[in-house]
Symmetry: C2
Amino acid sequence: MTDTTSPALTTALGYHHAWTSGDLDGAMAYVADDVVCDAPAGRLEGAAAYRGFMSPFVRILRRAELIGAFGDDDTAVVVYDTETVPVASSPAAERVTVRDGRIAYSRFIFDRTPFDAARRAANGR
Amino acid sequence: MTDTTSPALTTALGYHHAWTSGDLDGAMAYVADDVVCDAPAGRLEGAAAYRGFMSPFVRILRRAELIGAFGDDDTAVVVYDTETVPVASSPAAERVTVRDGRIAYSRFIFDRTPFDAARRAANGR
């Protein structure tokens, strides 16, 4: 499933394995300072904003399972399922552009609905 | 970006190009009768259920843009952005398993939130 001859995929998987192991510092080493990420809630610009987006998710992550990983010279797609404290199964896909060994652009796809529902339930609404 | 030497990707792209052109009959020719699809709202079983899931989406689709397509012998990932009547930009990823030239399993990822918001707005709630 995994073509490790892809330089972009090597970066994407280095990032993926780091953050899914709880090592957000290690993951950010694969992310460009001026990264742009189009996430479900909108565009994030810069590594600090990206870290602020990932950090709460890493804290609630129980388990991640890689279910697809492909790439070529400068793009890669990583698809995985996650188990988090509030949501038993939530898959996500990241389609990244890599420049100089770091993620310069990411299109980040997941369904916000179960997370919003869990938040409302926790708030008693 | 596209490795057309992948048999699974050839199927996934045949399906993708058909439905994004509005040809749902043509797309379903690439989908196994006993397809299983894990979609955001839950599991769909069988081609009729799958068609019932895709049909309303094809009707509201204005435009789709392929932003990632990779595969190997039996799996493929297709990532694309969509413009629909209610939602200007909504990306999706499909990670499929192909058997005998047809999609046997699909993990379908997109954010339901903007579609639900548009539905509530249309209903005046």
